[in-house]
């Protein structure tokens, strides 16, 4: 693909500032076409919130960004790397090996709706595992790094707790710390607060807000409109496998141009 390879060339030469460059992503599950040509660029430090009705393809798009799903066509670049692909010695594009994909994923944090903490490891061990196994840090280095991350999400005093001994909000903060420990260039969040009790949603949003203020690049699927208005640089409205409208929170929430956006907002607001 001409456009994506020129992007690759320019990004290796200098910093284009593009962290995500997704172009014309198509994805079907069997006969169900879930993504019908989605394109999205996210610049460094930008926060993009994805909204849209259930089944519109938000999760699937997020999963295409870190190659949990392989797009049927289209290309995703993250931080200059064409995801799921690599250049071989002769300069030909070939499919990336499992190890190459793993290396690409290491710089993309992913926060799940249901946390997916490792239940047989303490909070600290959850955060340490990636740095030890992937970055090959020593146990001591990993421990120091993990403690820093836990303190950052306000859970330094819960380091030795097991997931079963933490509240939902605390679990999600540990999960965020686990991603941050890999020093990612990009963080993806799939409805990080929708499995939480209302009283603990705030503590998780606070952590994400802090990340936004520090300049972390993030793509967040969320139905928290108030939160989106506050942290998002842009909001993208998904419907039926496409981005039907994208703009600043003010544009999208206050003066939506698409009927589908209006009707969706009237339901969630």
């Amino acid at each position: 693909m001409v456009s994506s390879s020129s992007f690759e060339a320019s990004s290796t030469g200098g910093d284009t500032g593009l962290i995500v460059h997704a172009h014309d992503i198509h994805k079907s599950f069997g006969s169900l076409e879930v993504l019908k040509g989605v394109s999205l660029d996210v610049v460094r430090g930008e926060v993009v919130v994805l909204i849209g009705p259930s089944g519109s393809g938000k999760t699937t798009f997020l999963r295409c960004i870190n190659h949990f799903e392989k797009p049927d066509s289209g290309a995703v670049h993250v931080n200059g790397h064409l995801i799921g692909s690599k250049l071989d010695r002769t300069g030909q594009r070939t499919e990336a090996s499992a190890r190459d994909v793993a290396t690409q994923r290491a710089e993309i944090g992913f926060v799940f709706q249901h946390f997916n903490l490792f239940p047989n490891r303490t909070a600290l061990e959850n955060v340490m595992l990636g740095p030890i196994k992937v970055q090959k840090l020593s146990k001591e280095q990993a421990r120091t790094l993990a403690m820093e991350q836990l303190e950052k999400v306000g859970l330094g005093n819960k380091a030795d707790r097991y997931p079963a001994q933490l509240s939902g909000g605390q679990k999600q903060r540990v999960a965020i710390a686990r991603s941050l420990a890999m020093n990612p260039a990009l963080m993806l969040f799939d409805e990080p607060t929708s499995a939480l009790d209302p009283e603990v949603i705030g503590e998780v949003l606070m952590v994400i807000r802090d990340l936004a203020n520090e300049g972390m690049t993030m793509v967040i699927v969320s139905h928290e409109i108030g939160f989106a208005r506050e942290v998002a640089d842009r909001v993208a409205m998904f419907d039926d496998g496409q981005i039907v409208e994208i703009g600043t929170p003010q544009q999208l929430f206050d003066t939506p141009s698409q009927a589908r956006t209006k009707s969706f907002l009237s339901k969630v607001l």
Partner: protein, 268 residues
Amino acid sequence: MLISTLQFDTSFFWHELFGPSNAFLGGLWRTVYISVIAQVLAVVIGLVVALARRSTLRIIRGVAGAYVWVLRGTPLLVQLVIVYDGLAATDIYRFQDVTVLGVTILASVQAAILTLALNESAYMSEIIRAGLAAVDVGQNEAALSVGMTPTQAMRYVVVPQAMRFVIPPLGNDFNAMMKSTSVLSVIGVPELFLITQEISSSTFHTFEIFMDAALYYLALTTIWAFIQTWLEARVDRSWGIERAQRSWWASIRERFQDPKTLGIGRRA
């Protein structure tokens, strides 16, 4: 005494129970170590087979499936005779006594360990497969999301968690394994059953000596039930899960009486 009218030689019974002959102890010891080694090998082979059954390559899945089908679909007794006598009779392989570090391992014992391990590995692979399937897919994805390769995710995240689901049925299988060592007598392994038979035919105290043997088997399976209960509690603790305090006695009784956890009828 009533018992003497039944011609039960009480003193012989107690004597062999509390001061068993060296032959009897040797048989008991062989039963224990053959079971333990075969079970350990079965877990290792079973893990490989379970992973093979999840392979993306159809041929590997097929071979692993056939392995399980054959080993579970034929009697252990038949497998034993094929491995020990059948292979020798056709000059394919003849087991020989070997001496390692001054310890002699009988040919029949080698064949017994190998066959028990292979047979049990088929059952273990199914248990491990169910254990792997019981681990939420989100665990694998979480591991991948921090940059682990699929192999690392399997090794450091999925397999350790599967063990929690594997230990209870594994324990029941091991209970069955210790009892099924008695069939090893057909290839002449001098384990508890064969030794008991020999003592029986040389002393004619059949009832007494087999009652002693039964009590020793019962002791083995009961000790194992304690170990299993301890192991399960330990794994739960390493997940930060505290079990409701139940008496040891209650948990052992449950282990032998709850139909779900009984290992009977599996191995004929």
